[in-house]
């Protein structure tokens, strides 16, 4: 079943210069694709490839210049449906600091459900569940400013979960985190997807994209490639062409294979690689 359908999407930023003339810049250029309910899709690309703009159009934060986006058959350009759409499609942004509204952790997580008009007892339950899901329940009464970047990002994820969405878009959620916070956030994202939430991960870390079922590569506002991670990583030229790098684990696997040691092509992440090596040494 399709949850989000992007149809001939074009998006232009219009900038008005000081002398009143307008200049437009086409960030997304006529793209179409569907996202299956329950899938884990990574959208990758260099800076300026249009991936972040794309993310913001998927829940109606930006309205297409032309073409349309249907979320569960609701058009994001329809003002009457926009709150329905956003309650179905949650979003987590890059900067953990600038998406937390309330000083106290649990009050912030409650912000979304409060906006939806959920009854108080139900909000309490959702907030507790969401905080447990991201492992932050014991910090629920703390001040948000006391937390680390990774912890703040987990609060932001809890804030999205508490709205009980069917899909969550993560717009470079780990870009500002340290490696430890990054790992924890990725683990939470994977768990959420396993629980059935459609996951869209915008990232420029290829090792994070490797964990998805499907990778869409953006280049100059267009879809450059749309395939499984296995297919994408088997084509070194394609990755170079998009200005991206191989995930370190895949790169390492290939370099070992080049030296004549046979390596299975299913190795995508560091964990896979470690598992394989350990298994071989036994």
């Amino acid at each position: 079943m399709t949850i989000i359908s992007v149809q001939n999407l074009t998006f232009e930023y219009v900038r008005t210069a000081e002398d009143g003339t307008t200049k437009s810049y086409r960030a997304i250029d006529d793209i179409s694709f569907d996202i299956e309910a329950g899938s884990f899709v990574a959208i990758v690309g260099r800076n300026g490839s249009g991936k972040s703009t794309l993310a913001k159009t998927l829940n109606g934060l930006l309205v297409p210049t032309s073409g349309r986006i249907l979320v569960k058959d609701m058009d994001t350009a329809d003002d009457n449906l926009i709150w329905d759409i956003r309650s179905k499609v949650g979003m987590v942004f890059q900067n953990p600091d600038n998406q937390i509204v309330s000083s106290i952790v649990e009050d912030d997580v409650a912000f979304g459900p409060e906006n939806l008009g959920v009854p108080p007892e139900e909000i309490r339950k959702r907030v507790d569940d969401a905080l447990k899901a991201v492992g932050m329940y014991k910090h629920r009464l703390k001040g948000a400013h006391m937390l680390s970047g990774g912890q703040k990002q987990r609060i932001a994820i809890a804030g999205a979960i508490a709205m009980r969405p069917e899909c969550i878009i993560f717009d470079e959620p780990t870009a500002m985190l340290d490696p430890k916070g990054r790992e924890k956030v990725m683990e939470i994202i994977r768990n959420l997807n396993e629980e059935g939430i459609t996951t869209i991960l915008i990232t420029h870390f290829m090792e994070e994209a490797a964990q998805a079922d499907r990778i869409i590569v953006m280049k100059n506002g267009q879809i450059y490639s749309d395939s499984t991670p296995e297919e994408l990583y088997s084509n070194r030229e394609k990755i170079r062409g998009a200005g991206l790098e191989m995930p370190p684990a895949v790169d390492l696997r290939e370099r070992i294979a080049e030296r004549g040691i046979e390596m299975p092509e299913t190795i995508m992440t560091e964990d896979d690689l470690v598992d394989y090596i350990v298994e071989q040494r036994r």
Binding site: W83, R86, G90, M91, F111, G112, V127, G159
Partner: protein, 265 residues
Amino acid sequence: MIRDITLGQYYPGKSVIHKLDARTKIIGTIAFIVELFIVNNFWGFLIAAGAMFAVIGVSRVPLKFIFRGLTAVFVIILFTFVINLFMVDGRVLWHWWILTITYEGLRRALFMAVRLVLLIIGSSILTLCTKPIELTDGLEKLLKPLQKVGVPSHEIALMMTIALRFIPTLMEETDKIIKAQQARGADFESGSIIQRAKNLIPILIPLFISSFRIAQELALAMEARCYNGGSGRTRMNEIHFKKKDMVAAVVLAVFLGVVIASRWI
């Protein structure tokens, strides 16, 4: 250093004062401030101070915390005292060069100083014993009747919540900018006062720009979380008047009566 700042200086506790409805505390504080201006003799202040210290005792907030608020405004209190001391005509107690202290001046100066001290301590009890979110929720509910005449009660409360939330963030941002400018050779420590004030411009401009950027990102995040104004919103912790609040209201009324009566002592 920046992590140490308290959120609106809230002192966590479980006392009756902490558990009172924020609205009761806000009204109580306003009443207390009003009566400080009704008082016209030192007996009234004695009663007010007695009541105030009784509340502090019940709240179990250490006195150290309470007086900390005073140090910040000490200069203002001193200034008011000195001005009043020398500026009032009346029976001369002491005279030197152009300085004259009169009996009335001394009385007025003491009066103002005591009033200011009580005012500051009294209102700090409110912020010390009430969580910022409860304070803003209480304010929102209190202002609600005014919505009919166009006072945006929900927006005011939300603005306060966000302001409190972003104080630490902006402090961090300021810290970063100062360090970045110092790394470029900026000097904030020497020169005359005017020179130093001018030196702050390279801090203020980037700070303004970044606060606009933060505001923009926050607005987007709030929209993504379905924020569309105050109507149709529910709250996780709804506030209700309880029995405690009734008792507090009665105590407050008695106290106000006594203070007003003190005018005729």
